[in-house]
C-alpha cells in the first residue's frame, strides 16, 4: 500500500514542511528564535507555554530543519536553521496580507462606493505632517494602535468615535486612516466626521503601506 511514486513522495515532503508551520505556537517560537539563540525555558516563558510543550514543538521544528540546537552547560540553545526559511515565511505573510485585503474589499466595496471622501496620498500626508495644521486619526482598535501607528496619530476606534468627538480639535482638517486601502473603518469614520462638520480626508493606503514604505512608526 506504500506509494513509491516519487511525485507523491515529493508532495508528502512538502506537506510535512507546511504542516510544521501550521501551528500558531510553532510560528511564535520561530519568531522568537529568529531574534537570536534562546534556551528552551526562555522560549517557554516568551510564548507562555509549559516547558514540556515548548520542547515538543521545538523538536517538531527541528525535524523539519527550521531550527538547530547546541548545548551550553545544562541549557540547550535553539537557533534558526540555515535553510531559506525567511523566504517561506515572507511568502506566507505576503499571501496572508493579500487575503486580508481581499476580504476587506468584499466587505468594504459596496459601502466604499467610489471616492465619496477625498483621499490623501502618502507623500502629501508626509508634507502636511511637517507643515502642520492637520489631525491624524487612527480609527483602528486600541490593540492594533498599540502594536504600531503613524507618528503623532490620535487613536479613537471607529465605533467609539461618535461619543468621543470632543477629543478632536475643531477647525483642523482630519486625516483618518485604518488598516489598508479597502478598510471600511476609515470610510465610515470619514462619513461621520463630515456629517458633524469636520473637513476630512482618508489616507488611502493605510498603515501597512506606510510601514512597508519604511516610514517611521511609533510603538
Amino acid at each position: 500500500m506504500t506509494k513509491a511514486d516519487p511525485h507523491t513522495l515529493l508532495f508528502t515532503d512538502l506537506a510535512e514542511i507546511a504542516r510544521t508551520l501550521g501551528h500558531a505556537h510553532r510560528l511564535m517560537l520561530l519568531e522568537h528564535i529568529a531574534q537570536g539563540e534562546r534556551p528552551v525555558e526562555r522560549l517557554a516563558e516568551l510564548t507562555d507555554l509549559t516547558v514540556a510543550n515548548t520542547s515538543q514543538h521545538l523538536q517538531h521544528l527541528r525535524r523539519a530543519g527550521f531550527v538547530e540546537t547546541r548545548r551550553d552547560g545544562k541549557r540547550v540553545l535553539y537557533r534558526l536553521g540555515n535553510g531559506p526559511i525567511e523566504a517561506v515565511l515572507t511568502s506566507l505573510r505576503g499571501y496572508a496580507e493579500h487575503m486580508r485585503a481581499e476580504i476587506r474589499q468584499l466587505i468594504a466595496d459596496p459601502i466604499n462606493a467610489d471616492g465619496r471622501h477625498d483621499s490623501i496620498s502618502r507623500d502629501e500626508l508626509l508634507e502636511r505632517l511637517l507643515t502642520g495644521g492637520i489631525t491624524l486619526l487612527d480609527v483602528r482598535s486600541t490593540e492594533e494602535y498599540a502594536f504600531g501607528h503613524l507618528p503623532g496619530a490620535l487613536n479613537i476606534p471607529a465605533d467609539e468615535l461618535e461619543r468621543r468627538l470632543s477629543e478632536l480639535p475643531r477647525g483642523r482638517e482630519v486625516v483618518a486612516y485604518c488598516r489598508g486601502p479597502y478598510c471600511v473603518l476609515s470610510t465610515t469614520a470619514a462619513a461621520l466626521l463630515e456629517a458633524k462638520g469636520f473637513r476630512v480626508r482618508r489616507l488611502a493606503a493605510g498603515f501597512p503601506d506606510w510601514k512597508a514604505a519604511g516610514l517611521t512608526v511609533e510603538a
Copy 2:
C-alpha cells in the same frame, strides 16, 4: 479565553494557511488546478480520490483562497485563486530541496571521504558531451530518471549496476551522476566501475544543479 492579542491572531491566520498546504492530497489538487480549470470529478480521478473527499479538500483550499470556483451547467469548475500562491509554493519547494541536500550530506559525508574519484565540473562535462567519447551514466532510480535527466544519459540504478555492466560500452570514460553533490549513489557506482576496469569520474553537482543552471533536461 479568546486571545484578542493581534500578534497571536496574525500567527493563527498564518498557521491556518500553512496547514491548508499541509496535506499531500491538497497539494496534488492544487497542482492539477494550476494546469487550468477543472471540474471536481476530473480532479477526483486525477488524484485517485473519491469525489466527496476531493470536494472536501477543495473547499478547504477555497476557504484559504487558494482556489476559486464558477458554475458551468451542472459542473463546478475550480481554478487557481489570484493571490501570490506560486510564491508560497516555490519557496516551499526551495526549502524542501535544501533539506534534501542537507540530509544527503549527512548520510554521504563519511563514505564520501574526500575525492576518492575524480570529479568533473558542469562546464567540463558540457564540453565533453559536445566532443563526445564519454558515457553519461545516471545511477538514480528509474522513477527519478523518468522524472527528468541529463541529455543522452544512460540509466542504470546503482544497485543494478553490477549485473548490468555489459550495457556499458568499454573503452569510453564514464561520467556518473546522481541527485546532488553529496549523493552516495554515484560514489559507490564509481568505486564499482573502477574496480571493473572502467575509467570513471563523477559529476560533482548532480542533477538538481544541472537543472537549476537552466540546462536542457530530457523527460
